[in-house]
């Protein structure tokens, strides 16, 4: 992919990454950080147990292309309440992704996705997400900002 696009890094495209709320599941973002860095993104990993405020101020501090919120422990709904309002207030226009185990229990994925779409996330990823799918989605959303990300289906399991 790197070769195909003809450049080596996604300069100035800072990607903010963190686990929201009091969630401490760190393995997923560790793997994501490594994959995104290897793909040339400038990743700021805020680590686990990151508050909304911390996400917002980190997004403000950099030329942020994307904010990646991870949540595994089942409290994502509560934890993300108001995040997009705060981001909008600081005039951050980064794309926002959320991924992980986004609800408590054995919930229906369509409902869950819809819920987080309504909260304002541009893309919602389930826990089966392979890091390469995240890289691909970011490459599309950050390199071709003018294209409509909403109309692209970046399912990798073809």
């Amino acid at each position: 992919m790197v070769e195909i696009l003809g450049y080596d890094t996604h300069m100035g495209q800072t990607v903010i990454l963190g686990v929201i709320g009091s969630d401490a599941h760190v393995v997923g973002i560790t793997i994501l950080e490594q994959a995104l860095s290897a793909a040339g993104f400038d990743v700021k990993n805020l680590g686990v147990q990151t508050s909304k405020d911390e996400f917002v101020s980190a997004a403000q501090k950099h030329d942020t292309g994307a904010v990646l919120v991870s949540s595994l422990y089942g409290h994502a709904r509560q934890d993300c309440q108001g995040l997009h309002k705060q981001l909008a207030d600081t005039e951050c226009d980064a794309v926002t992704y959320i991924g992980g185990n986004l609800s408590v229990g054995q919930d229906d994925w369509d409902d869950t996705r819809e819920h987080f779409r309504e909260l304002g996330f541009n893309r919602v990823f389930d826990a089966e997400t392979d890091p390469s799918a995240v890289v691909s989605a970011l490459e599309r959303d950050l390199d071709h900002r003018t294209a409509e990300p909403e109309t692209q289906r970046v399912r990798m399991n073809s």
Binding site: Q78, V104, G105, P131, A133, M156, N157
Partner: protein
């Protein structure tokens, strides 16, 4: 100053009173009446006795829902339909953060909506009486399972509430579970909890304590887990705990798992005072599960088989829905029964596997070296030694989110699937042992035709959920190893729910 010394009576009483004021339910948690309550319980609810006298591994699931009636029903179900020998009550995440207000809101929401808006049972909010109702409503003994760095109020209330076993420890409920909690402070908090358990014990109510062995659940080298277990055991023993269950999370290599459980028992008995009864608990695979119940049953099957071979005193079972989220009661009970079937079918067979001793020796040697480092770092004081050792990186846990640990250690599987250490950081392990690990990992690297790297770690993290033990590169990956892509996209599963 932090010291591994027994907290004096007065201090215990003083701190306890102060803590009980933190939340209204604290008022009811009165020690003397709690003792009387425990004495009134039938012997079948004596957790320590049940565990220590068992002649087969006892099975225990994880389970916690917000409301009391639901929790009662859930535990009864796991007892009746799952055949659990010991029951759990898993506490919600807000309580773990001592955010009792948020837990209260969640609880009320749950009561109103009927939905499980919390990921566990907020025992502090429920209070002593509700806990006792729960204890009385089910037949088997129940343990508090949580993940709370500062679990003092939780302990006060649940122990007064009739629970006789309490999971956790200063390292095992800090390092894997939180980012900012100070390790020194956490140790002090757990000294208080252990001291409280000691006070119950002294009065004849032997509270069972269970340090959380799996730590981050992700490729934790056995020696590290064991060193942490022994340290937590020592700290607890100082405070008067006399029933200790040391834990270990399955890594999936049968020889290594059996060796590790033996080493855990051996070192536990060696290092802990004679008046402490040491038991062991084996956790079925604690890392990422396959996103498929049928394959998850395979993982659980290997867990059950390993338990049958290693014969720990207790097994914490997983459910086939582990990947997806908190399991339904049916799936939870199914995990118990699958495990039971395997253990019972294998229990009476004599299966003697070669090479366990050798692996056990390596594990013990490494664990001793880590323990020595802890003692050295504290000039003989374990409590101070722990803080200093984590600070220097002499003791470390892979994937630890906590600021108190360096998390410089990185594990990877060798060619046989045993967990070795790929990146040592400052771990207090001598060159000879390091060379053994290095050689094993080189062997794997050769097999795979790639160099040792973080990619191995990442591949190993996903391997079991992808259906294998070792994260071997796929054909296309090893071809394009230098291309800079983290993984090739060819066999990606799952993904994104994009709007359209």
């Amino acid at each position: 100053m932090l010291r591994d010394e027994r907290i004096p009576d007065e201090e215990l009483i003083e701190v306890e009173s102060a803590l009980r004021e933190r939340w209204p339910t604290g008022a009811d948690a009165e020690f003397e009446s709690a003792i009387a309550y425990h004495e009134s319980l039938p012997t079948t609810k004596r957790f320590a006795d049940a565990l220590e006298s068992a002649d087969q591994p006892l099975l225990q699931p994880r389970a916690g829902v917000p409301c009391l009636d639901d929790q009662t029903e859930l535990l009864r179900y796991l007892d009746k339909e799952g055949g659990a020998d010991l029951l759990p009550t898993t506490i919600d995440s807000y309580t773990r953060d001592n955010e009792y207000e948020k837990a209260q809101r969640g609880l009320e929401e749950a009561r109103e909506s009927g939905e499980d808006t919390l990921n566990g049972f907020p025992a502090v909010n429920h209070g002593v009486e509700a806990c006792r109702e729960l204890v009385e409503a089910v037949d088997a003994p129940i343990e508090v399972r949580h993940g709370t760095p500062d679990a003092r109020l939780l302990a006060i209330i649940t122990l007064a509430g009739g629970f006789q076993s309490f999971e956790g420890g200063p390292i095992s409920y800090n390092i894997p579970y939180t980012k900012e909690h100070d390790l020194k402070e956490t140790i002090e908090h757990w000294q208080f909890i252990d001291r409280l358990c000691g006070a119950y014990t002294k009065r004849g109510v032997r509270i069972n304590r269970e340090p959380f062995g799996p730590l981050t659940g992700t490729l934790v080298p056995p020696s590290i887990a064991i060193a942490v277990m022994v340290v937590e055991g020592l700290l607890a023993a100082t405070q008067g705990v006399r029933s200790l269950t040391l834990g270990y999370g399955q890594v999936g290599n049968v020889v290594q798992d059996v060796a590790a459980l033996r080493a855990l028992r051996e070192l536990g008995e060696e290092y802990l005072p004679n008046d402490v009864v040491v038991t062991t608990v084996f956790h079925e695979w604690m890392g990422g599960f396959p996103p498929d119940e049928a394959r998850a049953n395979g993982v659980i099957g290997l867990g059950g088989a390993t338990a049958a071979l290693a014969q720990p005193d207790k097994v914490i079972t997983k459910s086939p829905q582990e990947f997806q989220g908190v399991p339904t009661q049916e799936a939870n009970a199914a995990g118990l029964r699958t495990t039971r079937q395997l253990i019972d079918m294998m229990a009476e067979q004599e299966i003697i596997i070669d090479g366990i001793d050798k692996e056990q020796e390596l594990i013990e040697r490494t664990a001793r070296s880590l323990l020595d480092a802890v003692f050295d770092h504290g000039d003989g004081d374990v409590a101070r030694g722990v803080v200093a050792a984590f600070n220097s990186g002499a003791l470390d846990v892979p994937f630890a989110p906590s600021d108190s640990a360096k998390a410089d250690v990185l594990p990877a599987r060798d060619d046989d699937g045993r967990v070795r250490i790929l990146q040592w950081g400052d771990l207090a392990v001598d060159q000879e042992i390091r060379d053994i690990h290095d050689a094993r990992l080189d062997e794997r690297a050769r097999t795979e035709g790639r160099s040792r790297s973080f990619r191995m770690v990442a591949d190993d993290v996903d391997a079991i959920s992808d259906g294998k033990l070792i994260g071997r590169p796929t054909a296309s990956e090893s071809d394009s190893e230098e291309s800079g892509r983290a993984t090739d996209g060819t066999d990606t599963i799952g993904g994104e729910g994009d709007a359209d």
